[in-house]
C-alpha cells in the first residue's frame, strides 16, 4: 500500500497489517501521520507538540 505524505509529498509504503487510525512517521520529513483511511490509503497530519522556546 502506497500513501502520500500530506506534509512533504513523499510516497510512503505502508505495511500490509496497517490499521486505520494508526499513527506513523513520515520517513522523509518526520511528520506524525494518522492513517485516516485504508480504502484508498490516506494520511493526515496528527496533532503534535509545539516547540515553545525562542518566543
Amino acid at each position: 500500500m502506497i500513501a502520500t505524505c500530506p506534509e512533504c509529498a513523499a510516497e510512503i509504503s505502508l505495511p500490509a497489517d496497517t490499521l486505520e487510525s494508526e499513527i506513523i512517521s513520515c520517513p522523509e520529513c518526520g511528520a506524525e501521520l494518522e492513517v485516516i483511511s485504508l480504502t484508498p490509503p490516506t494520511l493526515a497530519l496528527a496533532p503534535e507538540v509545539e516547540e515553545d522556546w525562542g518566543e
Binding site: 506534509e7 512533504c8 509529498a9 522523509e28 520529513c29 506524525e32 497530519l45 507538540v49 516547540e51
Partner: protein, 344 residues
C-alpha cells in the same frame, strides 16, 4: 598508496586535513610543513593526533616531490608560489581563496589587488563537489571553498536549480560562524575575555565570499552579512529569498529532495518534532555533512533556506578530501563517513 603532503599543516585547516588523511585507506601522508614548528611532532600542535603517527613537521623549504599536495596557507601565499608547488606534485588542492574565482576582474574587485598568477586561474576547478563533481573527476588542480560561501551556496542551490527565486527581489543571507574560521593565530579581538560570549557583527556588508556566491549561484547581487557567535566549529547560513510564483511547502520539498538525492553529504532537516527541527551546526562538528532545511511564509512568499556545516569540514578540509577522492578516482565518500557527535 597515493603519497600526499600538506603545506600549512600546523593551521586549523591543515590539522583537519591531517586528521582525515591519516585515517584515509588509500593515501599516505609523507610530509606536513610548518615553518614555526619544524622538528616538532604533529601531536604537539594537534593533540588529537597523539599516538597515531610519528611524523614531525618539516620546514616548507624541505618539501619533497609527492603525488598530491594540499595547500592550507594564508591568503595569497599559494598563488605567489604556484610555480614551485606545481613542480613538486602533479596534483594540487589549494584550500585558500587564491584560485576560487575564475574571473580575474572579480578577484581584483573583492581582494583589492591584481591576481598574482592569473594564468593559473582557469586551470583550477572550483572545489565544491556539489557543484563541480564531473569536472573534478580526474582533475589535476582544485581550489578550496569559502566556508561562509559554502553554507550560503548550499542553502541557495536547491532554489536556484528549481528556478524558484524571484531574482527581481533581493536575496539576503545571514551567516553565523564559529571562531575557528579565523585560523590558528590570535588577535586582540580573539582574546578569550573579549571573544567569549560575544555576538559580533564582523562583516555586515562587503564580505569577500559574496564573489563565490555570485559565481556559484549566478545570482547577481546576493546580500551577505556575517556574525561570529559562541561556537568553535560551525557555520549556519540563513538565506531569505522570495518565490517567483505562489508555491507550497510541497514544491520546496520537491526542490530540496531533488538536490539532496544527488549529493552524498547533503541531508534534509525539517522536522515537526524532536530537538533539532532545523539544521544545527553543533551536531555536525567533525562531520562532512551539510544539513539543509527551509520554511515558507505563504503570505509574503518569503522562503527561508537554512544550511549548517562544520566550517573546517564541508567548509574546508572535508570538501578538499572529497575533491581528492574524485580527482583520484576513489569512492567519493571515502574517509569522510563520520556522522558527528550527539550529545556534544
Amino acid at each position: 598508496m597515493t603519497r600526499v603532503s600538506i603545506v600549512g599543516a600546523s593551521g586549523y585547516v591543515g590539522g583537519e586535513l591531517l586528521r582525515l588523511l591519516l585515517w584515509h585507506p588509500e593515501v599516505t601522508v609523507v610530509q606536513a610543513t610548518s615553518g614555526r614548528n619544524a622538528g616538532r611532532y604533529l601531536y604537539q600542535v594537534h593533540p588529537n593526533l597523539r599516538g597515531r603517527t610519528s611524523l614531525q613537521f618539516v620546514h616548507p623549504d624541505k618539501l619533497e616531490p609527492c603525488d598530491l599536495l594540499f595547500l592550507a596557507l594564508p591568503h595569497g601565499e599559494a598563488a605567489r608560489a604556484m610555480q614551485r608547488y606545481t613542480g613538486l606534485a602533479e596534483r594540487i588542492i589549494d584550500c585558500s581563496a587564491d584560485f576560487r574565482l575564475s574571473d580575474p576582474a572579480a578577484y581584483k574587485r573583492w581582494y583589492g589587488e591584481d591576481h598574482p598568477a592569473p594564468e593559473w586561474l582557469g586551470r583550477f576547478v572550483y572545489g565544491l563537489p556539489e557543484v563541480s563533481r564531473e569536472a573534478l573527476r580526474g582533475a589535476k588542480y582544485a581550489s578550496g571553498v569559502g566556508c561562509n560561501a559554502t553554507a550560503s551556496n548550499l542553502a541557495l542551490l536547491p532554489l536556484v536549480r528549481a528556478g524558484l527565486i524571484d531574482t527581481s527581489k533581493p536575496v539576503l543571507i545571514e551567516v553565523k560562524v564559529g571562531s575557528s574560521e579565523g585560523g590558528a593565530s590570535s588577535t586582540d579581538s580573539s582574546h578569550h575575555p573579549e571573544r567569549a560570549g560575544a555576538v559580533r557583527s564582523f562583516a555586515p556588508v562587503g564580505h569577500r565570499h559574496t564573489a563565490e556566491i555570485e559565481q556559484v549561484t549566478g545570482l547577481s547581487t546576493p546580500h551577505l552579512s556575517i556574525t561570529s557567535v559562541e561556537l568553535v566549529r560551525g557555520a549556519l547560513a540563513t538565506a531569505h529569498a522570495f518565490a517567483v510564483r505562489p508555491i507550497a511547502d510541497k514544491d520546496l520539498w520537491q526542490a530540496y529532495r531533488g538536490f539532496a538525492k544527488e549529493q552524498p553529504f547533503v541531508r534534509l532537516v525539517k522536522e515537526r518534532q524532536g530537538i533539532y527541527r532545523y539544521p544545527e551546526p553543533k551536531i555536525l562538528a567533525g562531520s562532512n555533512f551539510a544539513d539543509l532545511g527551509f520554511a515558507l511564509d505563504p503570505e509574503s512568499g518569503r522562503i527561508v533556506s537554512i544550511c549548517a556545516i562544520d566550517n573546517l569540514m564541508k567548509g574546508a578540509a572535508g570538501s578538499a578530501v572529497q575533491c581528492m577522492n574524485l580527482m583520484l578516482g576513489f569512492e567519493e565518500t571515502l574517509g569522510l563517513e563520520f556522522p558527528g557527535l550527539h550529545p556534544v
